[in-house]
């Protein structure tokens, strides 16, 4: 092998998205090829393929005898989180105009088919004399999560990287977490979710993990915003952050003291200090991971009214 292919391979491995290969090979030698094996194709189809086995020996296999399997290699413990991280979000209310691109993007990427979106933009007005503003809410990923406390089966759990996630394979559907959440952020799959996937269903079942909520949603269990760890894994921002045309959402790492909305990357502490950042219902002691910047000098409120729909947060396809 020449240097070039080795490099490519190394890069490929370092990406964190290692491809595994399971193969059905005639003979006894390779009945148990597991994930983590690198492979490469040489030349056009029909020729032999080079593979590396557990001991590092290169062997040649006919591609006809192989079946490619996409195995996501999670390098961290799903219940413990990505080591060293403390995910944080800042929502700048001054920039929110109820464009709802965040919500649409979230609904799409989490295959939300119910009637209650995970990310909602509230029309807020404290009193008659104070001005109205738009307030996006998602799961606050509290450091003292009320939902986790009351869960009887540890289906919803708190990770070291700050995320509160749900194991939909364990949830018994008692809905106590929903009763406990003061932010009304949790939604329930009251019926069989009518989700559509581009991949075949077996594949989805194989891949589904608390790190990508809604893929697939499971009847009789609770769903909510997951802070998109599947994106973080790829080094990308959550869907709502990238979708927002106004840069409302800043996402980042509190340990690094950095957040970004995709356009600008700023110091978290400075952003909060300069803009008088606060958290929702601080007095409850839930210690949310989501901060808000007050709606000072904000974009005109009225323009958001066009998109406002009190009774709908998930667009439904027109039923003929």
């Amino acid at each position: 092998m020449d240097e070039n292919t080795k490099d490519t391979r190394r890069k490929f491995l370092n990406n964190g998205w290692k491809l595994g290969l399971a193969s059905i090979v005639g003979g006894a030698a390779l009945t148990h090829l597991k994930e983590g094996f690198a492979f490469e194709t040489k030349g056009p189809a029909g020729e032999k393929m080079e593979l590396m086995d557990v001991d590092g020996n290169i062997i040649e296999v006919d591609p006809i005898d192989m079946e490619e399997v996409d195995l996501e290699q999670v390098t961290h413990n799903v219940r413990r989180g990505i080591p060293g991280r403390k995910f944080t979000m800042v929502v700048d209310l001054a920039k929110c105009q109820n464009a709802l691109a965040c919500q649409r993007s979230c609904n799409k990427h989490h295959f939300v088919t119910g009637d209650n979106a995970w990310l909602k933009v509230y029309k807020m007005q404290e009193t008659e004399d104070t001005s109205p503003y738009w307030m996006p809410t998602l799961c606050m990923h509290c450091d003292q999560p009320a939902c986790v406390t009351v869960c009887p089966v540890d289906a919803t759990f708190k990770r070291e990287d700050g995320l509160v996630l749900i194991d939909n394979d364990r949830c018994v559907g008692c809905r106590f977490c929903m009763a406990a959440c003061p932010y009304s952020t949790r939604v329930f799959n009251w019926n069989e979710p009518k989700q559509e996937f581009e991949m075949n269903m077996d594949m989805v079942e194989e891949m589904h993990s608390p790190e990508h909520a809604g893929m697939p949603s499971i009847k009789g269990t609770v769903d909510k915003c997951d802070f998109c760890p599947h994106q973080a894994e790829k080094g990308e921002l959550p869907h709502c952050v990238t979708a927002c045309p106004n840069g409302v959402f800043y996402f980042g790492d509190k340990n690094e003291d950095v957040v970004t909305n995709g356009n600008e990357t700023v110091r978290l502490s400075k952003l909060l200090e300069e803009n008088a950042g606060y958290r929702l219902f601080e007095d409850l002691g839930t210690e949310p991971s989501v901060y808000y910047l007050p709606p000072k000098d904000r974009l005109p409120f009225e323009e958001g009214l066009e998109n406002y729909n009190e009774f709908q947060s998930v667009e439904k396809p027109d039923v003929p």
Partner: protein, 439 residues
């Protein structure tokens, strides 16, 4: 054993009359309808209910709370009155145990009905987490079922043996069944000693267990950040409410049984007067806790809380709230102070109203709070802003109530409603003491 004959005739098993058969048939019909609805709920999901993301608990939970509350009656009538040596409790004890057992069993079943994934029920044991109030419930409810069952069963042994002997000639099959459950009971000294010890222990256990049960039921609500639930008053509030609904249910059952079995000689006006006084006391205590829960907070209620109180006192839920509070609690508490309302029939009518009120009361504790989350309800269909149970929910809830009534009916059919063993013993004691006096 001729000394039992009259007692068995009066109190023992009696075949269902036509009315009784119709009653059982009605209950069975309601239960079958409920089971069909439940199977449909299992297939379709909880979507068949009218619960949604905001009103995430509905009539199932309030019905559950009602059952748990009513099952407290055993602790009050059987245990507390025994420990305070109130002899007038005797004719009520057996029926109180029956009502308590039926209710706690149905409470257990009702909470499973509310679970959207009953197929994963074992997770509650496999992955149990001790800080969740649901886990506390998982521990206390089966415990309470077992203790209630034993508290009914152990004192019953003598009666079962009497019936075993009674039917030994006339009905061999029935005699065998009673004999099986009588566990070779022969009134031996050792048996009686062991029985007495066991019952004393159970009686001592059921009071703290009952208090724990009712408190946990309250903590299911008060451990959440919810206006109207997050109240330190909730534990005693639920305990006092439990005494009211438990006694109400017991008085209702006792009156009906007394009328149908012609037990006027066994359960006299004196007994009704006594239990009416106890009922009155519990109602007054409950009034007190209602004042703490709804009136005192008016002075310092924060915005969310005052909005919640507003919907109860003047708004959406005002009509049911005031009917339940006035007709179901305050008026009974006042009326029961007068002796003539503690006569059997008026007391029975009051008790029925109180029980109905107690059922709706739980509904008013669960639902209105859920419609007042901290953040406004937005972005969901309009009908999610309100809640009224769906047909499925009514059918299933009706079936759980019918099942409780069926358990009570069948137990009353086959088991002496007042301990024959005990009555015969008392009679014997009376005779010997009379003899002594004469001598």
């Amino acid at each position: 054993m001729s000394k039992y004959d009259q007692l068995i005739k009066d109190l023992g098993p009696r075949k269902f009359s036509l009315k009784g058969k119709l009653w059982v048939a009605l209950l069975l019909a309601v239960i079958v309808a409920g089971i069909i609805a439940y199977v449909d709920q299992l297939i379709e999901g909880q979507v068949v209910t009218n619960m949604r993301d905001y009103v995430l608990w509905g009539v199932y939970i309030s019905n559950f709370v009602f059952f748990v509350a009513t099952s407290f009656v055993a602790a009050v009538v059987v245990a507390a009155l025994r420990l305070t040596k109130n002899e007038w409790r005797r004719p009520f004890v057996r029926m109180a145990q029956i009502v308590a057992l039926a209710c706690i069993i149905m409470a257990g079943i009702t909470i499973i009905i509310d679970m959207a994934r009953p197929d994963r029920m074992m997770n509650l044991f496999i992955h149990a987490r001790l800080q969740s109030p649901i886990t506390w419930d998982v521990i206390i409810i089966p415990t309470f079922i077992v203790v209630s069952l034993l508290l009914l069963y152990f004192p019953l042994l003598g009666d079962l043996a009497i019936l075993r002997d009674h039917y030994s000639e006339t009905n061999k099959k029935l005699s065998k069944i009673y004999g099986f459950f009588a566990m070779k009971w022969r009134w031996s000294e050792q048996q009686i000693k062991l029985q007495g010890k066991s019952i004393r222990l159970l009686v001592l256990m059921i009071i703290p267990l009952g208090l724990i049960l009712e408190s946990i039921d309250a903590y299911l609500f008060s451990t959440t950040y919810r206006v109207g639930w997050n109240s330190t008053n909730f534990g005693p509030y639920f305990i006092s409410g439990a005494m009211v609904s438990g006694l109400g249910a017991l008085i209702t059952v006792v009156y009906i049984v007394r009328k149908n079995k012609q037990l006027q000689n066994y359960i006299t006006e004196y007994h009704f007067d006594k239990i009416g006084k106890l009922f009155n006391l519990t109602c007054l205590i409950y009034v007190y806790f209602n004042i703490n829960e709804y009136l005192v907070p008016l002075f310092t209620a924060k915005k969310g809380e005052s909005e919640h109180l507003e919907t109860l006192l003047r708004g959406e839920f005002a009509i049911p709230f005031w009917i339940v509070t006035l007709a179901g609690l305050v008026f009974p508490a006042i009326l029961l102070m007068f002796q003539r309302f503690r006569k059997p029939r008026p007391l029975y009518l009051i008790a029925i109203v109180v029980v109905l009120g107690a059922w709706w009361k739980r509904y008013l504790i669960v639902t209105p709070t859920l419609l007042h989350p901290y953040l406004p309800i937005q972005g969901v269909p309009e009908n999610w802003h309100h809640y009224f149970p769906s047909v499925h929910e009514w059918l299933i809830t009706g079936a759980t109530l019918a099942m409780a009534l069926l358990i009570i009916t069948l137990l009353i059919r086959y088991v002496p409603v007042i301990s024959i063993d005990r009555l015969a013993e008392e009679e014997a004691e009376r005779l010997t003491s009379e003899k002594k006096a004469a001598a």
